[in-house]
Amino acid sequence: MKRHDLLFRYLDGEITRDEDKILRELIKEDPELGEDFESFLEIDYHINKSNEEFNYPQDFINQVGNQISNQIAVDNQVRQLRSELRRKYATRFVLVPAMFATLFFAFLISIQNPEIDFLAISSNNSDYSKISDYSKIANNNLNIEKEKISLKKPRKGVFQNKNDLTPPSLPSLSKSLEIINNSQSDNSEIYSDNLNSSDVTIEYDAEQDYHSSVDVYQKVDKPQFTQLEDAINPTNFKLNKSQLNNISNNNLFNEQFTVNPKLQNINLNPFQSSFISQSNIQINSLVGTDIYQVGVSSTNQIINSFTQSFAAEITSGSSLGLEAGYIQFKSNAKKITEISSKPVKNGFNGLTILELDNNSGDNPMLIRVEGIQSINHKMFWVGVFYERNFLELNDFNVSSRVSFGISDNGVISSLKLIGKYNLTKGIILTFGSDAKIFEGSFNENQINRINSTFSLIYGIKFAF
């Protein structure tokens, strides 16, 4: 142990009782160590006294403390306001897209009109009876008498006139079967054993007006109509799509339908619309990686984005839809904090000004403290877009998409150039570029400004 070690342990207050005894003995034996001991105690005493009597610039200390304290209060207010706004906008961000989505799908549904769509016929023969009519009849268990009255007159769209050999749509066909079943004609006997007597029974005077139409079905083999009968649930008139398709694909069935050229136009695709073609609902997911950005004054930025869109093809090669997404900014921005003895006007972007109203002039210097501000900001947005193909080459085509929407920071607009490669039916690989211009702020001062990014985008698209 060195000479002064015990002495220092004493000064540090770490000495034990035994060590204290040893130290006292050492001091007795070594007067020089005793002198050192006294010197250290003297210095220690004066240091403590010096601390007590230290001359502090109390006003200056208070000012610095008050300024920072006020700055914290302002920060807290801003943070509180921001969180309130975020909460407020978060509600809107759920409601607005939900409203947009509802309206959009309502629009799609309205143009599709499921009643027309279901067993819709492309030949604009919209006068055919609708299946719903029959469902009503079935569900309400209308009696024969009522139907007698209602069907005494030729129903619109079933058989327009005597000479028209146009066969009815499938509901009409089923109706005809029932007509046959319930009529007193000889033809009806053929099928009577296959039909349930509890089914909707509609009496119809086939001979009166439409005997010729019934003749069409006389040529059809019984099993075909059995299939048809199976396809139509006799109790609730629900159609089984697969069975209907089987029927439509049957040669014998088709043979009968080709009696009239109009029959060829009958399309049994239940999801067909006169407005939207078969591959018209498109869902597209796009992931974006930033290439270049303008206007965000920070360094080492990473900007990622994700876009999800839903669209409907409105005309050949052009579609209208909704898209929503988010952009994430990560960066370490340089930040300068200043303290000035002179009042400084409003801070500007990237700079926090702490004003010290120090009239004493003791500290006229402007203090600049450089620091790093970590930015991790997410911006959610939603908007509508219009997309149009302008180049098509076999499985590859190129389109441009213009969108306009709102984000939690303000307005946003983007222009996308998208290349699409048809991988397989309904699955399309998409890639391209995305230029966005938007209102946003990515610094502590929350000063809004116009920013823009340019990103690579890639994703996948499904068409239904």
Binding site: H4, H46, P57, L354
Partner: protein, 196 residues
């Protein structure tokens, strides 16, 4: 940990424990104005004293003091919750070292450099002033260790954290500084002893 202990505490340094300081530090990191006010009240004078002793110039010390607290405010979220006092003095010490580097006019190494001009230095008013003056003759590595230990009462563990060195090295530096300061003050102390 005592929840919001500093709020219930009547301001009295004797009652302030390390846990209370750390708790206040964490609340300050989360944006508590009250916690900042408490910590500022506890440490502002200590930090100011430290800056003055490190820079030996009141104006420079004011700048360093402001800068220290601005940095603390700016980087409050980086406080880990472990030891607020060490974290605070680390920032204060780094600020002072940066200030010295920015303002040094000679080519001496950092260990040898003497800061500023103090007219009191040559007046020899009393032992307090003499101690302050002789302190500036110590190399900065010894001086900062001595100031933190004997003037600001930090533990060796805290000094090691602030200076980013081992505890044993912190002790060595403090001991060397004490011995050297004693040697520098020897004539004066001898004079005082003889006078009494």
């Amino acid at each position: 940990m005592i929840k919001s202990g500093y709020k219930r505490l009547r301001f009295d340094e004797k009652n302030i424990t390390k846990e209370i300081l750390n708790e206040a530090g964490l609340e300050f990191a989360n944006g508590s104005q009250e916690a900042f006010n408490f910590l500022y009240k506890v440490f502002s004078k200590k930090v100011y004293r430290f800056c003055v002793r490190m820079l030996d110039n009141h104006d420079a010390a004011k700048d360093a003091f402001q800068e220290t607290f601005i940095r603390i405010y700016e980087f409050r979220k980086m406080f880990s919750g472990k030891n607020f006092e060490s974290w605070l003095f680390t920032i204060a010490r780094n600020t002072c070292i940066n200030y010295i580097r920015r303002h040094k006019t000679n080519t001496k190494s950092l260990d040898e450099v003497e800061i500023g001009f103090n007219p009191r230095r040559h007046l020899g008013i009393g032992i307090k002033e003499q101690i302050e003056e002789k302190l500036n003759q110590l190399p900065i590595a010894l001086k900062e260790a001595f100031v933190l230990r004997d003037m600001e009462d930090l533990t060796y563990e805290q000094i090691a954290e602030v200076l980013e060195i081992d505890i044993s090295l912190a002790k060595v530096r403090v001991h060397r500084a004490r011995l050297k300061l004693k040697e520098l003050l020897k004539p004066l102390l001898k004079e005082i002893n003889e006078a009494t």
